[in-house]
Structure formats: structure tokens, C-alpha cells
């Protein structure tokens, strides 16, 4: 067991967990941020995607000991009130069916748009390739990423 000071969604959390514990379980069971989902545990499905210093990572496969002072953003920290352009687009396009994978999808999409505000279809397919949706909402996900890009460009960026 060891104590870690984690910077999550602009807050500091002290957690006492074993060093190999994946960030996913620290977020969900220790801190209580359950928006980040468990799907496969081996970085294949993308349901657990969070941002580590703005990069999308699979939190099921990142041990807490590797986080250090890097900033973690989860779906709960994306915006105060669900007004991030990606969240707005996801609602407008009515993307979710069961919705379980969507937190991970949204985190992958926001990370993409931050680096590439005007992605092509191929860019989107590449950036979203690590996220599985068993309900098959991919068409609307792609449409929502494009809509979010447009919204963000109107507002002057995804921040």
C-alpha cells in the first residue's frame, strides 16, 4: 500500500492503495467517480478512457503509481454542466442507446478535437478505433464528432 496524491478534475485526492491498482478502480471505487466505465480490463474496448495531460488513455491499464503529477480528467470533469461542445453534440445528435460506452467515446472524441479541430472522416475513424459500442451507434458518434467540431469552431475552440 502507498499513498498517492492525484490531480483529478482540478481537485487533489489523497488515496491509499497498492501501487499496481489501475487508475480505473481508484477513480471508481476509491474516489467514487463512477462515470468512467469498466468494460474489458485489457485496453481493448475503450470504455474506461480518461485524459492524462490531455491525452486519451485506457485507465484500466494505467497503474496509479504511474500517474505522478499528471492531470487526470474524467467525464465528470469535462465541463461544469454538460456544456462542452462534444457533450452538447452527443445530446443533439441523440447518440446514446444503452450509453455505457459513451463516456469513453466522448473522452476519445474530445482528445481528438483538442489536437485536431477539423478532423476528416478518416481522422475520426482512427481516433475512435479503440472504442467499442455494442449497440452500434458509430454512425451517430461520427456525426456528433463532426457536429462538435463545428460547434467548437463557432465558439473558438474546445476549451
Amino acid at each position: 500500500m502507498a499513498t498517492y496524491s492525484l490531480h483529478v478534475n482540478d481537485q487533489q485526492y489523497q488515496v491509499d492503495v497498492s501501487p499496481e491498482t489501475p487508475l480505473l478502480w481508484v477513480l471508481r471505487d476509491t474516489i467514487g467517480l463512477t462515470g468512467t466505465k469498466y468494460g474489458c480490463g485489457i485496453a481493448q474496448c475503450g470504455a474506461c478512457t480518461v485524459h492524462l495531460n490531455d491525452n486519451p488513455v485506457r485507465s484500466c491499464s494505467v497503474p496509479v503509481s504511474a500517474i505522478g503529477t499528471n492531470k487526470v480528467i474524467t467525464i465528470e470533469g469535462l465541463s461544469e454542466d454538460g456544456t462542452h461542445p462534444v457533450q452538447v453534440a452527443w445530446d443533439e445528435i441523440d447518440v446514446p442507446q444503452c450509453g455505457y460506452c459513451q463516456a469513453g467515446q466522448i473522452m476519445s472524441a474530445t482528445a481528438l478535437l483538442k489536437k485536431n479541430p477539423d478532423p476528416s472522416d478518416r481522422d475520426i475513424e482512427r481516433a475512435m478505433a479503440g472504442n467499442i459500442c455494442r449497440c452500434g451507434t458509430y454512425k451517430r458518434i461520427k456525426k456528433a464528432v463532426l457536429a462538435a467540431a463545428e460547434l467548437a469552431n463557432q465558439k473558438g475552440g474546445t476549451e
Binding site: 491498482t21 457533450q87 441523440d94
Partner: protein, 709 residues
């Protein structure tokens, strides 16, 4: 005693439907709504039935009683009530209702049956409430109710223009007796139904606030991970939990029913504890394999079938005549459900009561199973259904509920059992593997005169759908089935049986059409005409609706028109869960690989309740069906699955998603199923396109195994 209590005792009211007219309906929800009037001096809320609550402040709360697995029922049910109630949808609050069979019918997510079985009830619930609000307003104004209209939560007196809000009328409406005559709207009066309405939980989902079963946290709750047999046909011999108990966070280890549960203060600690467990397993029966199943299937199909399911005319005598014979054998692999939310359940067992909380498609069945297991009366067992990360049939079972209950009972604590993805893929309940042999005969006049299906599948009562088209169109028609008993557990998987048999029927029809040198679409239409002109046995589908989706899909997809270089089309259609679906797949070959470019889909599901929800169900069905047809295959070696997680078991991703165009036939028929019907036809549409492109017939799924070079 308030007036509403008197209303509650009325178990029947006379209902005249604008479309049906003068019918009597049993309203069990009228008996059971709870009175809130008279409990204090304050104004009463208006709760005319179990679906609706209108507070004196004007807050309209609509209950969603059915399990939400992603099929959109939490939006669709309240939407239908809101339509008839005439409220502002943007201001309505929707609440998931707990299990309450005394108030609600059929709280089940299965068989694409929610909307089609509750359509009338929901409309009348809204209509009855609306007429009470109108009556209350008319009393206020001393006016004739016929002079009143409703709009967005207000009753309006048309001659004077006076209006009162539903909130203002709530207390007075609550004191009126139940209406003797409930009118529902004419279809052309709908304001909400048929439009694009967003999922009511979107905002919660996109902010991470939506709670799924796996997100349940309770004071004193222990997380449980269960070590189950590593293969079908193995049983527990012994185990050593010394190291497990030393694992930080592990609180308890218990053994029951051939399993060992590790309980801990976090999911990860429970998982680490299980890794430290030393369990020994011994053989307990045959260790089955996919190769072994194939051998057994072949032997079964070569022998006399166990049972005849349907027989029209005389296939045997037809085949004794000189006919052109077409044959084909199709193979279905096992499929796991792959719900994105891994299996989990929360149970808190007390001395004579139980709380069940979590993702179940059948809360009622879960409660009955727990009641039987613990010998605790059902009324002492509460069940709350959480939003589910997919169901696809897996959560129709109760094994994961009773397991959580057994553990909670033994450790005397609230428990959440979590299955890892590996636990789920090995732990059972799969779409059954099977083999389907078809034989057809074409006579000298180039007519299909005989059709014989001999089928077998693992642990299936009847792995066929004997009344599917072309049953009814072929004078000599026979379907036989033989079950293959196995230790491997099987169950419903999105569009059970339809999900594979549609591939076989529609591929085989394509084979026959080519053998006859007929266009596959024209051939289907000709068969439907045949079923109409001289039906053979029962015709279990509406011929005109079937024809209409086929013709419309062909027209929308440009069937028979010149295609761009290298693009080929295939056709598939299917009737299931009350809905008619036809699809055209456009594929492009690149060497020995193909890509599905576009799917044109036409659906007749009766009235469309929510266009956005309906469209996404159909598109999702296409993607799901395509994905599993392309890649889905769970195989067994020595009783264990060869695939345990998504590194070896491939699911479809965004780049394989085709362009999709979904058209709904405009209809005044009652709504039919939609969670499943979009899925069955796609595999055949793609397979038939592959045949058009390469001349190769793929009869064994998944397509990724086929050699097309």
C-alpha cells in the same frame, strides 16, 4: 378519505378508442395508484394512475416501468403517455419505476415487446388523466367539457380563451371520480409521436452521472469476484485461500455451489485476491469442443430427426419426382452477449427481506427465483432495475441475481458481484451453435415446389422459426429439428433464432433464384404472390406488408440498376417481432476482401413512436448483425472458450460501419417490435452481395473465416 381512493377501487372503466371504439379494458393500474390527497391540509397531487403524477406546482412526473437496456423504452413509454396527456415534453420528468406487477403489466425487456404490448394501456392512461383535468377545468368555469381543449399542460376554454394549468387543476382533478369514457387521440392529432425525440437520459449519460448497476455503492457493501469452473465439465476439487486472505482489502472467502467468492473492499482487491487463490478442478463429464460439436451436428443431420415442426404437402413424395435439386448446409457459431456493462448485481439479504438492485431484463423473474431460493415471500423482496449497459438477452436469466443473493446471505452483508469480461465469456449463456441443412426442388416449369429444412442446435427446444417465409408459398414444405444436449449453457441472444435462421433462409432463397436464373427480388415477390393465390398451410405474415418493404427497398437502393465499377448488391428481408424489414447491402471487393459500403433498409413497424429512437434501433441492429456476421465466433476446446476477451474476440468498430439509409413505411397499424427486427436480414444481404461479386456462397459464419480469393 379522499375522492381519489374511491377512484382507486374502480377496476374497470369504459374506454372508447378513437381508432378501436367502445372497448372495455381492465385497468389494473387504476386499482393501485396511491392516494396522496387528504394526508395534509395542502393541495393534493393528481395521480390518476401509476404512470402519472402532477403536483400542485405543475411538475409532471411520468413513470417508466420497463427495464432500459438501450432500446429506448424509458423514453418511449412516457412519450406515449405525454402525447395523450397533452403536456410539454420538455418539462416532463421521467422516473424509472421499481418492480410493481400490481401496478404495471409486463416489466420485461425482451421479445421486442414493450411498446406493442403496452400501447393501448399507455394511451388510455394519458387520455384518462387528460379527461379528468378537462372535467376539473369545466367545473371551475361551469362550462361544457366539449368547449375545452388541452395544450402543453393547460386546459383552455375555447369560447372565452380562459386557461388553467394542469398544476392548478391537480387538486380538483384528484377529487373527481374516474372517467366513464376515455377518448384517445386520432392519429392525425399526434404532436409528439413520430417526431425525433431525444433519449431522456442523454444529459446524465454525457456527463457521467447516469448510474448503471455496476456503479452501485452502499455503506458496508462488499465487492465480490467469483471463481467459477474454468471449463464446462469441471467441478471444484479443493482450494487453498491462504494467500487470498493475506491480500490487502480481502475481507472474506466463501465456497458454494462449485464456486468460490472473494469479498473485498474494492473490485481490484477482490480481483487480486482471486489471482492469489489456488483452486483445483476435476473432470465432471465430457469436455466439449467446437470440432466435436460439428461432428455431432453432422451425425444428427444424417439421422432421422427428433421432431417435425412443420409439414405442408409431402416433401418426400415431391423429391421422388424428377426435380432440379439445390442443397446447402449452414453453420452458426456460439456467440457471447458482450454486454458492454459486464455482468453484475447488488443484493442485500436480511433475515426475512431482500433488496435486489441492478441490471435485470426480467425483475419479476429475478424476484421469483430469489423467493424460491430463500423461501422468503415475494412481497418482502424489493427489486429496482438500473439503467443497463446492454442486455441482448443475457440479463433475461437469473443466475447472476441468485448468485449475488447466495453470497450476501452467507456473508450477512450487502454485496455487489462483478463479473470480469473473462468471467462473462467463459461463464456461459451463449447464442447456440447449430447446423442447418436445406434441400429444395425446382420443377420443369421452373417453380419452387419442395423445401426441406433439417436443423440442429445446442440446447434449443426449437432452433428454427418454422413459419418464416417462404413457408406458405411452397406446396411441399417441411421443417425438422433435433436438439443437441450439451453442458454449455445457451439462451436468448438478440432476435433469438431469427439472428441466424434469417441468414440461412435468405441465402438459400438467393441460391434458388440463381439456379432458376431469376432476379432474387422478383423471385421473392413471385413467392409472395404464390402464398396469396394458393397458400400452403398457415401464412404467418401479412403478404402485402412484406411485399411493400421488399419493393420499396429495391426501389430506394436502385436494385437492378448499373452499379459503379466493383460494387455489388445483395438482398435480404425478414419478418420478426411484428415488423417487416428489407435490406440491400452494397459491397465492394478489393482482392479477396470486401467492404460493406452502404445498407439501404426499409422497415414497416406500424406507427413509429419516436423517429430518432426507431432509426437508431434499426441502424444499431444492422451494425450489430453485420459485426457478428463479420467477426463473431466463440469456440470451445476442452470445455473452455478459446476466446476470453476482446483481444481474441472481435467486435465491430467504427471503420467497418457502412453508410446506412433507413426508411419507415408510413402506417396506421399499431406499433410493433423494433429492438430486434433490424438485425436478422443483414448477414444474408451481405452474403448475397458476396455471391453476386465472387460467385462464392458463404454458408458458415463469420465471413472473416471465408476464403473469397
Amino acid at each position: 378519505m379522499s375522492a381519489i381512493n374511491k377512484l382507486n377501487r374502480r377496476s374497470f372503466i369504459k374506454v372508447s378508442s378513437a381508432t378501436g371504439g367502445g372497448l372495455l379494458f381492465g385497468f389494473n393500474w387504476f386499482i393501485s395508484s396511491q392516494a396522496t390527497a387528504g394526508t395534509s391540509a395542502s393541495a393534493a397531487a393528481f395521480e390518476p394512475n401509476a404512470f402519472i403524477k402532477i403536483s400542485p406546482e405543475g411538475i409532471v412526473t411520468l413513470m417508466a416501468p420497463n427495464p432500459e437496456i438501450g432500446q429506448g423504452v424509458k423514453t418511449a413509454f412516457p412519450l406515449i403517455v405525454a402525447e395523450e396527456l397533452d403536456v410539454d415534453w420538455e418539462k416532463v420528468q421521467v422516473e424509472q419505476a421499481p418492480l410493481a406487477p400490481e401496478k404495471f403489466d409486463r416489466q420485461v425487456a425482451g421479445g421486442s415487446g414493450s411498446v406493442r404490448s403496452s400501447w393501448d394501456t399507455l394511451r388510455q392512461a394519458g387520455g384518462a388523466a387528460r379527461s379528468l383535468l378537462v372535467a376539473a377545468a369545466a367545473n371551475e368555469w361551469k362550462a361544457n367539457p366539449d368547449e375545452c381543449a388541452t395544450e402543453l399542460g393547460f386546459v383552455i376554454h375555447k369560447p372565452s380563451g380562459k386557461k388553467l394549468s394542469y398544476g392548478e387543476l391537480a387538486d380538483k382533478a384528484a377529487r373527481l371520480p374516474a372517467p366513464s369514457d376515455v377518448k384517445v387521440k386520432n392519429l392525425d392529432e399526434f404532436n409528439l409521436l413520430g417526431k425525433r425525440i431525444k433519449n431522456v437520459d442523454n444529459k446524465a449519460i454525457v456527463t457521467g452521472k447516469a448510474k448503471y448497476g455496476i456503479d452501485t455503492k452502499r455503506e458496508g457493501m462488499l465487492y465480490a469476484i467469483v471463481e467459477r469452473p474454468p471449463a464446462f465439465g469441471k467441478k471444484l476439487k479443493s482450494f487453498d485461500d491462504t494467500e487470498t486472505k493475506k491480500t490487502h482489502g480481502v475481507k472474506d472467502v466463501i465456497s458454494f455451489d462449485n464456486k468460490i467468492a472473494i469479498l473485498a473492499d474494492s473490485t481490484w482487491a477482490a480481483k487480486k485476491g482471486r489471482e492469489a487463490l489456488k483452486a483445483e478442478w476435476e473432470d465432471d463429464g465430457e469436455l466439449e469442443s467446437t470440432a466435436g460439436h460439428l461432428e455431432k451436428f453432422k451425425a444428427i443431420l444424417a439421422a432421422e430427426p427428433e421432431k417435425n415442426i412443420r409439414k405442408d404437402g409431402d416433401v418426400k413424395s415431391a423429391f421422388s419426382k424428377p426435380l432440379k435439386i439445390i442443397e446447402g448446409t449452414f453453420e452458426a457459431p456460439f456467440l457471447p452477449h458482450s454486454t458492454m456493462e459486464p455482468m453484475n448485481f447488488f443484493a442485500d439479504v436480511k433475515e426475512n427481506s431482500v433488496e435486489l438492485y441492478g441490471p435485470t431484463q426480467t425483475p419479476d423473474r429475478a424476484r421469483k427465483a430469489v423467493s424460491e431460493l430463500l423461501n422468503i415471500p415475494e412481497e418482502n423482496i424489493s427489486v429496482m432495475t438500473t439503467r443497463m449497459g446492454g442486455g441482448f438477452g443475457r440479463r433475461l436469466k437469473t443466475d447472476f441475481v441468485t448468485e449475488a443473493v447466495q453470497i450476501s446471505q452467507k456473508v450477512k452483508a450487502p454485496v455487489q458481484v462483478i463479473w470480469t469480461r473473462e468471467d462473462d465469456m467463459q461463464g456461459g449463456i451463449y447464442r447456440p451453435a447449430g447446423m442447418y441443412h436445406y434441400k429444395a426442388g425446382i420443377d420443369a416449369q421452373n417453380r419452387l415446389v419442395a423445401w426441406h429444412l433439417k436443423a440442429t442446435a445446442v440446447n434449443s427446444g426449437n432452433g428454427t422459426r418454422e413459419n418464416n417465409f417462404p413457408a406458405g408459398a411452397v406446396p411441399n414444405f417441411q421443417v425438422d429439428f433435433t436438439n443437441l444436449e450439451s453442458q454449455i449453457t445457451t439462451g436468448a441472444w438478440r432476435a433469438p433464432n431469427h439472428n441466424f435462421i434469417a441468414f440461412t433462409e435468405e441465402s438459400f432463397l438467393d441460391d434458388i433464384a440463381h439456379a432458376m436464373q431469376k432476379d432474387p427480388v422478383a423471385f421473392r415477390l413471385e413467392l409472395l404472390e404464390q402464398a396469396k393465390a394458393s397458400p400452403a398451410g398457415e401464412v404467418a405474415y401479412d403478404i402485402d406488408r412484406y411485399k411493400n418493404v421488399i419493393e420499396t427497398a429495391a426501389e430506394k437502393a436502385g436494385w437492378g440498376k448499373p452499379m459503379p465499377e466493383g460494387v455489388f448488391q445483395g438482398f435480404g428481408s425478414h419478418f420478426s417481432f411484428g415488423s417487416y424489414v428489407a435490406q440491400v447491402a452494397d459491397i465492394q471487393m478489393r482482392g479477396s476482401n470486401f467492404r460493406v459500403l452502404k445498407v439501404t433498409c426499409v422497415v414497416d413497424c406500424g406507427i413509429v413512436v419516436n423517429l430518432s429512437g426507431a432509426e437508431t434501433q434499426v441502424e444499431g441492429g444492422i451494425v450489430d448483425g453485420l459485426g457478428h456476421a463479420l467477426y463473431g465466433e466463440l469456440t470451445f476446446e476442452n470445455g473452455a472458450t478459446a476466446q476470453k476477451n476482446y483481444d481474441k474476440y472481435r467486435l465491430i468498430r467504427m471503420k467497418d460501419t457502412p453508410e446506412m439509409e433507413v426508411h419507415f413505411i408510413k402506417s396506421t397499424e399499431n406499433p410493433q417490435g423494433l429492438g430486434e427486427p433490424g438485425l436478422p436480414p443483414i448477414a444474408a444481404a451481405v452474403g448475397n452481395a458476396i455471391f453476386a461479386a465472387t460467385g462464392k456462397r458463404v454458408r458458415k459464419l463469420p465471413f472473416s473465416r471465408a476464403e473469397l480469393g
